[in-house]
Amino acid sequence: MGIISIKNLSVSYGNIKILKNINMEINERKITAIIGPSGCGKSTLLKTINCMVEEETLSRVEGEILFKDNNIKEMTKEDIRKEIGLVFQNPTCFPFSIYKNMVYAQKYYGNTDKKKLKHMVEEKLKIAGLYDEVSNDLNKSALKLSGGQQQRLCIARALTVDPQVILLDEPCSALDVKNTKNIEEMLSKLSQDYTIIIVTHNLSQAKRIADYTAFILNGELVEYSDTETLFSNPKDKRTREYIEGIYG
């Protein structure tokens, strides 16, 4: 039994069905990559897992998602999102200082002890591999950081609420090779403590970091297995064609 079980999940916007009958088990403390061509529903799947899809008008979700055997429909959105964090494709730093970005969520949960907050900020920034670069100037505006640093700050910020699962929606698509490498190394380390689901366009990235990989095409889950099997010995013809670069 995985930490997240997706059962017969279908999602539609208006009359358009984006995801069709997805069944998946996500394993705890592993990296699961979701690959597939543009517009196949990868991001929608991610957004459905932490109920972000419900913020969009006209979306309809059928089927169920269990988080630790609890149906997420029976939990509040806030509780789910606290347990299942989401990092977006483009960095979404708030236009505040680095420090304020990091303590933003903690203040809601009532942590105002400055010492504890400072310790927490340091710890999470270290995990995200950003601390050494910004430790001298935590009051600098987050928007003045480079793209890669901003994305790492967003990951560090997602960690501040101590989630169990982190969802990442193509976190490296706007970054160069060096920053991508930094983030991949960080994710591999994070997977010792957190469950990670990453949507990626980049097949070699999935191959490098993921323990499991799922291939989605036109809203259907075509194949889902451990990364090595999926890439070296795909069972489905469509998966093989995608890996060989026939689709998008």
Binding site: N50, M52, E55, T57, L58, K77, E78, D79, I80, R81, K82, E83, G85, L86, V87, F88, N90, T92, F94, P95, F96, Y104, A105, K107, Y108, C154, R157, A158, T160, V161
Partner: protein, 277 residues
């Protein structure tokens, strides 16, 4: 006609239009300043109207204060409603039909002639709710007038923001209320303040909504919100309309224009000071 001539004509048209608008505007302002300046002295600013008929001598202090009070009440009333409406429509409302209906209502409110708002204020607030001709009744009526002005702008501000920032806040398990109060409000505080100041300028210059609801020919500076008040636009209307004193009317117009210009310049200063941050 070749492209070069077309381009030149368009430029000419824009240039002439710009000059016409600017010159008309500056003419009005300069004319009022020149005519009104002679009536302006300290007694005019801080004195109460005197003479028979009242207003032919003395000052306009109660009208200045009355106008400022009316504006403050209108701004508070309208801002609270407008921000909550805009937040509801932008962050909470998922029902497309309801959204459309709300937008229609708000745009229609913006189109209601101000004298009709005054009539509504008179029948509903002054008579039905028994507020009487008062600061409160006039302030609320002005508030209804500037409500769509503020709501439409605040909603636009929220609509043009980067939605991903809002979703990033939700993704931390934070509710919408916290996201609005601690993230969006601090980010857009200045824009919202500028909008409210502009709306205040709109309210302070309006005569029609307060003719029936708040303004009187003479009243001291009000001590309660239920007292009737003097107001600059109404005072101006009376001075000219009843032929009481043309000089004092220009003096009043001068003060009103200065107040209005201040209300319009403040938002510019407000946004300029952002550059320094």
């Amino acid at each position: 006609m070749n492209r070069y001539v077309k381009d030149l004509l368009l430029k000419l048209w824009c240039g002439i239009s710009g000059i016409m608008v600017l010159s008309t505007l500056s003419f009005i302002i300069i004319y009022i300043f020149m005519k009104g300046f002679s009536s302006i002295n300290l007694d005019f600013i801080i004195g109460a109207p005197k003479g028979v008929p009242i207003g032919s001598e003395g000052g306009i202090y109660p009208a200045i204060i009355g106008s400022v009070y009316l504006m403050i009440i209108a701004c508070v009333f309208a801002t609270v409603l407008a921000i909550s409406t805009a937040v509801y429509l932008e962050l909470y409302c998922k029902n497309e039909k309801l959204l459309k209906i709300m937008h229609l209502v708000i745009h229609c409110t913006a189109g209601i002639p101000s004298i009709i708002l005054g009539m509504f204020g008179y029948t509903f607030l002054v008579l039905r709710l028994g507020l009487g001709r008062s600061l409160m009744a006039g302030g609320i009526t002005l508030g209804i007038m500037i409500f769509p002005f503020i709501e439409i702008r605040v909603e636009k501000i929220l609509n043009e923001m980067d939605k991903n920032i809002v979703y990033a806040s939700y993704a931390l398990g934070l509710p919408k209320s916290y996201t609005f109060l601690k993230l969006l409000l601090p980010i857009y505080k200045r824009d919202i303040i500028s909008t409210v100041l502009l709306a205040g300028g709109f309210a302070i210059g309006a005569a029609a909504p307060i003719i029936l609801t708040a303004a009187v020919m003479y009243a001291p500076v009000p001590r309660t919100v239920l007292a009737p008040v003097m107001a600059l636009p109404y005072h101006l209307y009376i001075l000219i309309g009843e032929g009481i004193s043309v000089e004092n009317a220009y003096g009043t117009a001068f003060v009103l224009i200065v107040l209005l210009l201040t209300m319009n310049i403040l938002p510019i200063l407000n946004s300029l000071s952002r550059g320094g941050e």
